[in-house]
Symmetry: C2
Subunit: 524 residues, 2 copies
């Protein structure tokens, strides 16, 4: 399939004329053909109005139709074959194996949401019977969740498939019944065009209303503001920087009718190494930690950027083991020149902080945009007195924090900002401490994990990829996992609605066969 | 029980020294004893810190303990006997029968949340089994919802019991596991002190941690800003004016860590009278409408402030019938002099709008603060061209809008702001139109009802008392009904947590016997 440099507006494919951009191969700094044209304000508006007009037809599709649509998108993505992963490799520098894995994750996510749609729990169908004999009489009352309306999605650079055009935000919005307008990430334009066309083709095959999906090209901030302030857009999904996320939040709050922005922004993902674990498997832990740190050039939202432990011999040994491990790690290509520059700036800002000691670095970079891993250490007192040490350095850099005792470890914990994840390494002898930490960390993070590392976010029912501010703009939500669908829904109550006018989910005969809460009792 | 003019901070009762205020009997404009002292900033902070320190102990109570606490609050409120309703009558001018009914609603709401807590659906417990054989291996993943933290509650003047100190926001916050700080409404200070003491006493009896509940007295805006900006407050519940709600939203958004504000603000609650209904029961509808309009001096969030129908003979007849009915309605005392003044201002602003015609008024007021009912009419064209006709006039005033045809009725509908409710009166011959209207109205309102009037908000599982902006600040929530609890919760995922450290809701043996989603299947 030849790339055209086109955006997708409903069932059209067209070249924007308001400026243009090419993707860059970060391994060579070469521009990649073709040029992609930016959308004009009129084209942004056109996509929004198509989404608006598609909304009723789309939200009224049956659960089965919507599930098949999601599955068809997955099929169309697989049908792109190696064209997709090869282009993604050129645009991101990510290894082919990683991209094939990420493609699998992306299509499995679509299939999970197809299952979720069919199961129908998310409709939260609730029926309370009329009580005509009561004084005052109670009318028949029924409730379901309905979709909010068109959603604007801003994907991330670091997952060109799984958090991009057909990623979790798109899949969960479409699952909820919301049309989607994706703003393609300028770091992987060709990948975006390919995936966008797969979705467009799936929409055609499934006879979905035109406008259920559009994909626009544009300069980041400007088109972001335009979409987030457009009257028909009813919610925003975003994965990226704190500055980018907060700009969208501010725009959305300043609208005549504010809308929710689900921005997944930044996290340093503290890892606690309790004494028993350090004693039992010091070297294994050090190696696993460094592997997690440098994986994907450290470009994960859940990268372990902070390691917290008590001072002592086993901490010293961990420092030695981790330093040794990191010294052997090759530099690897980052996603974009911009990300690489920001990483270098972050590392040098870190090295300039008072009383933060550089422990070790990975092998020096020789290729363009390659990140050299970096490990630093400081005392808890230093960490507590310098809030800049909580700044995310996006890439393979981590800071070890050494505490005098467990009380100081708790003090460090209580000063942490909101996080996507928090990790505890504990043996049974550590459980008393782990129990106390868990109580604090579940208030600070969306996911708490034991004896593992936070990179790797399973797509399943129980996943939470979210967390208190500033890790996200809305701690009551997740952008990965089945409950991501809840972000794009709102409840509506139907009082005394005649049987023939009731929505399918709430009819007496339960035609979709979904679980419902009937007079307070769950019926499956 | 002697009123003391005291606020309640944890288990203390104390008199604020930073200014004072007395409640006013709106029927006489006389001040009521005793004087209530305003909290100092230090006292606000003290209540917040007590709530903060109570949070862990409170959220770790068992479902049964929390349910019993809610039931005990209900018992303690009933134990106040006529002292409570008599004081509320003096402070609000509401009839005794209404207040007794409202007390019933308030204690039933507490009991409903006790049931909800015990049933445990709201925990959304979700378990995904480990898949150790898979490549990559999947860890054990479990999810539950946990409470956000201390909640600040601002009650409404118009329901001195059901939307006040022990109202829906307090009940659902406590049910969720969140400590509550109520800012007592200055219109019913004695009622607040009585109910606050009932909650304090229930907390003592149930040995709840000190700080699980506090009640502060203060000048509205200042203490509101202080609470909404206090670092330990994690959410706000509010019922009142649009200006008041938006001020809290702005403060909450400007915090270093923004927090959600659930503000229920304003709504004009459109009522559609389709032709078949107008033909079948014109006079009955007119009488029911006027009864709903003047009930409680029109001081309901769900008051029918807008009636929409097509021009024609049956519309003319409805106008005549409704005009006749309203002419016979006595003026009744409003809740406060401020509300009465605002009502008079709203009525005169309405009467000054071009091409809006006064149809009829109720019996003129003679007593202080009594509201005279008012019925106006305009053509749809006038309504469409004048956005001020969508301003809420809080009190017994309603505007009839006459449409040339159904298409214009849809045009009016699409111009409506977000609403708490929308009502359709339809006979079976109207169902084709009703079906189209329902599709639009479910996007505009939190509750759509047929062949009734919107005043009367049942407390049950399926209720939604919420709706798109500006009826509330968050359309994805409700302030009445069982799902109100969801506002104060967030999901946390537990990955590979050792069995002995798992929260009760997620243990293998399901000790609380709650419904859970296990590997995608609902288990009851």
């Amino acid at each position: 399939m030849e790339l055209q440099g086109q955006m997708l507006i409903g069932y059209q494919q067209l070249m924007g004329k308001s400026g243009s951009i090419r993707a860059i191969n970060p391994a060579t700094n070469q521009e990649l053909e073709p040029a992609y044209g930016y959308a004009s304000a009129a084209e942004v508006d056109q996509a929004c109005m198509l989404a608006y007009h598609a909304f009723d037809a789309y939200r009224n599709t049956s659960l089965e139709q919507r599930a098949v649509f999601l599955e068809t998108i997955a099929e169309q993505i697989m049908a792109l074959g190696a064209t997709l992963t090869e282009r993604a490799h050129l645009e991101t520098g990510l290894p082919m194996a990683r991209l094939e894995g990420e493609r699998g994750r992306t299509v499995n996510q679509l299939k999970l949401f197809a299952q979720v749609v069919r199961a129908g729990h998310w409709l939260q169908a609730t029926l309370d019977s009329a009580l005509p004999e009561r004084t005052p009489a109670r009318p028949d009352l029924r409730m379901q969740k309905i979709p909010l309306g068109p959603v604007a999605v801003f994907g991330a650079s670091n997952f060109p498939l799984a958090f991009s055009v057909a990623g979790g935000d798109t899949a969960s919005s479409l699952a909820a019944g919301c049309p989607v307008i994706v703003k393609a990430h300028n770091a992987h334009l060709g990948t975006s065009e390919l995936v966008g066309r797969a979705i467009q083709q799936a929409a055609r095959l499934c006879q979905m209303p035109e406008g259920v999906f559009s994909m626009l090209i544009g300069a980041g901030a400007a088109i972001g503001q335009q979409l987030a302030s457009h009257p028909v857009i009813q919610a925003v999904g975003f994965t990226g920087s704190r500055a980018g996320g907060l700009a969208l939040v501010n725009t959305a709050n300043a609208r005549r009718e504010p809308i929710p922005v689900y921005a997944e922004m930044s996290s340093i993902n503290p890892v606690y190494l309790l004494r028993g674990s350090l004693n039992a498997q010091n070297e294994v832990l050090a190696n696993q930690f460094v592997d997690s740190l440098v994986m994907g050039a450290g470009q994960f939202c859940t990268n372990p950027g902070l390691v917290i432990m008590e001072k002592g011999e086993s901490a010293d040994l961990f420092i030695a083991n981790a330093s040794k491990a990191i010294t052997a790690k090759a530099a690897s290509t980052m996603l974009t020149p911009g990300i690489h520059q920001a990483y270098e700036r972050g590392c040098s800002a870190l090295s300039e902080q008072a009383s933060v000691r550089l422990l070790a670095t990975g092998i020096a970079a020789s290729a363009p945009n390659a990140a050299q891993a970096m490990l630093s250490v400081c005392d808890a007192e230093v960490f507590l007195s310098n809030h800049r040490l909580q700044d995310e350095v996006f890439g393979p850099s981590s800071v070890l924090v050494l505490c005098d005792d467990f009380a100081q470890m708790l003090e460090v914990t209580s000063e942490l900002e909101g996080q996507l994840t928090a990790t505890i390494h504990a043996q049974s002898e550590d459980y008393a401490q782990a129990k106390i930490l868990l109580q604090v960390l579940e208030k600070k993070a969306g996911r708490v994990l034991f004896n593992g590392f936070p990179t790797g976010v399973e797509v399943c029912h129980a996943m939470v990829h979210g967390g208190p501010f500033p890790s996200t703009s809305n701690s009551r939500s997740t952008s990965v996992g089945a409950t991501a669908i809840e972000r794009f829904l709102r409840p509506v109550c139907y009082q005394a609605v005649p049987a023939e006018l009731l929505p399918a989910a709430l009819r007496d005969d339960n035609p979709w066969d979904i679980p419902r809460l009937v007079d307070g009792t769950l019926t499956a």
